[in-house]
């Protein structure tokens, strides 16, 4: 939990800052999916790239919905929570991807990311003092739970995988 944020006092966070944090969490995830899609395209893996672009669009939608809500409540009040204060809350970890990964593995990376976000908001909801902030963190936690279920459904719909592709360069460090 503490390794995911810096200089944010989650226990005493205000509603405005909580909403800003939620927007940034989605923005970070969106940017990471874009990076992953670019990496996959560069490494000639269009299937995984397509999936990451799909996830990017979903995160972008969440981000804009939360940003709209923030604007509705607090207008253009300046943000005091900055992107530099959060570390991979919902963004999949960089080491989750590989050049020849399958769509199933890409979905697995997303599931891990959704699980991380669920755990973050669950812990945050347990820490906060203000009722309205607790409500928003609980709501976000439940959304992450739904996303996990959706990703699991997608994984279940995939056809069974054949043997792993062996088109890598030979791994020489044994």
């Amino acid at each position: 939990m503490t390794d995911k944020t810096r200089s944010i006092d989650l226990a005493n966070i205000s509603l405005r800052d909580a909403l800003d944090l939620a927007v940034l969490v989605e923005e970070e995830a969106k940017d990471r999916y874009e990076e992953f899609a670019d990496q996959m395209e560069l490494h000639h893996n269009p299937e995984a790239a397509r999936f990451f672009r799909f996830m990017l669009a979903i995160e972008a939608k969440h981000e804009s919905r939360l940003a709209e809500r923030r604007r509705g409540l607090f207008g253009d009040e300046p943000r005091s929570v900055k992107r530099e204060m959060i570390f991979d809350i919902e963004a999949p970890e960089y080491d989750e991807v590989r050049a020849n990964m399958t769509v199933r593995q890409a979905l697995g990376a997303s599931l891990q990311a959704e699980t991380k976000a669920f755990e973050f908001f669950e812990a945050a909801a347990g820490m906060v003092q203000m009722k309205d902030v607790q409500d928003i963190f609980t709501e976000l936690r439940e959304e992450e739970r739904e996303h996990q279920a959706l990703v699991r459904q997608e994984i279940a719909r995939l056809p069974p995988e054949g043997p792993a592709r062996d088109d890598d360069d030979e791994i020489v460090a044994l």
Binding site: D3, R6, S80, V81, K82, F87, Y94, D95, A173
Partner: protein, 295 residues
């Protein structure tokens, strides 16, 4: 209600990110390192045009191109002399150096000792993946003994260079280690290294997922890394730092190993001092001209 206690950065991490897309292998540790560098630079708050980023050759040496700072992707193993020259000529620049373990401790190994003893105010970030990745997996100076590679088919017979002990033994005044498995901690040590007045060294255990020993190294780091601060290590104790540094390759310690509480003057400070002394002794310009005419 104020819920944050950090001063707001003038620049954001994204301001240091260039348009160039990294071509590292997906999963490479260097992706996390470059993100940590963006964040550290945002915390420092210097505009990109006041930063010079120098590198040698290797996968990690691509980093300057991925930032908006002035970049110099130089010659294999020669990033440190170039960076020192930049800092001496343009003291106002914040100078960073990046490279791999091969660049820094093999072909460029001789330069490290001199960069340490000159104490030019630069920060040297080594992405230590224990292999030559760009050239497809040869033994590197930090490869563990026994490693099988294309150049050590039956296992390496050589002991690995210990980068931490190496720079500590030469008298480095700031030595730290990080891993992309802990990006927040890594950003923090890079920021501390940049803020340190003098030569600072950060060893980053940045695994190679294609030719490295184990393609799950970052996960292993997450499970095994030990924070020096949490272990109660005193970063002002050089001998304790050297004791911990000896565990390089066996245990993964993260954070600041050593930070001189009383940093000696930097090379730039000494040059300024010398210039001042000599300018007082120097004959007036007219005398110099007279001498020229006499010869």
């Amino acid at each position: 209600m104020t819920t944050t206690n950090a001063p707001l950065p003038t620049y954001q991490a994204k301001d240091y990110k260039s348009e160039l897309k990294p071509i590292w292998c997906p999963g490479c540790g260097d992706f996390g390192v470059v993100q940590a560098i963006y964040r550290a630079l945002a915390a420092i708050g210097r505009p990109p045009h006041e930063i010079a980023f120098v590198s040698g050759i290797g996968c990690s040496s691509r980093i300057p191109g991925y930032t908006t700072a002035y970049g110099f992707n130089s010659v294999h193993g020669r990033a440190l002399p170039i960076a020192q020259g930049i800092k001496v000529a343009s003291p106002e620049l914040l100078v960073l150096v990046a490279g791999g373990d091969g660049d820094g401790f093999s072909i460029g190994g001789g330069h490290v000792a001199h960069a340490v003893r000159r104490n030019t105010d630069i920060t040297y970030i080594v992405m230590d993946n224990q292999i030559y990745g760009l050239t497809k997996g040869q033994l590197s100076p930090t490869s563990p003994k026994g490693l099988h590679t294309v150049t050590s088919e039956y296992g390496s017979l050589e002991e690995a260079v210990n980068p931490l002990l190496y720079v500590l033994a030469y008298g480095a005044n700031f030595v730290a280690q990080g891993t992309p498995a802990d990006m927040a901690g890594l950003a923090e040590v890079i920021e501390a290294a940049i803020r340190f007045p003098g030569f600072s060294f950060v060893n980053v255990q940045s695994p190679c997922v294609t030719f490295g020993e184990d393609d799950q190294q970052v996960k292993n780091h997450r499970a095994t890394m030990q924070s020096l601060a949490k272990l109660g290590h005193d970063p002002t104790d050089r001998l304790a730092a050297m004791g911990l540094a000896q565990k390089y390759g066996k245990e993964l310690h993260t954070g600041v190993f050593y930070k001189n509480p009383d940093p000696p003057p930097t090379m730039n400070a000494l040059i300024k001092e010398r210039q001042q002394v000599l300018s007082e002794k120097a004959p007036p310009r007219s005398r110099i001209f007279d001498r020229f005419l006499q010869t």
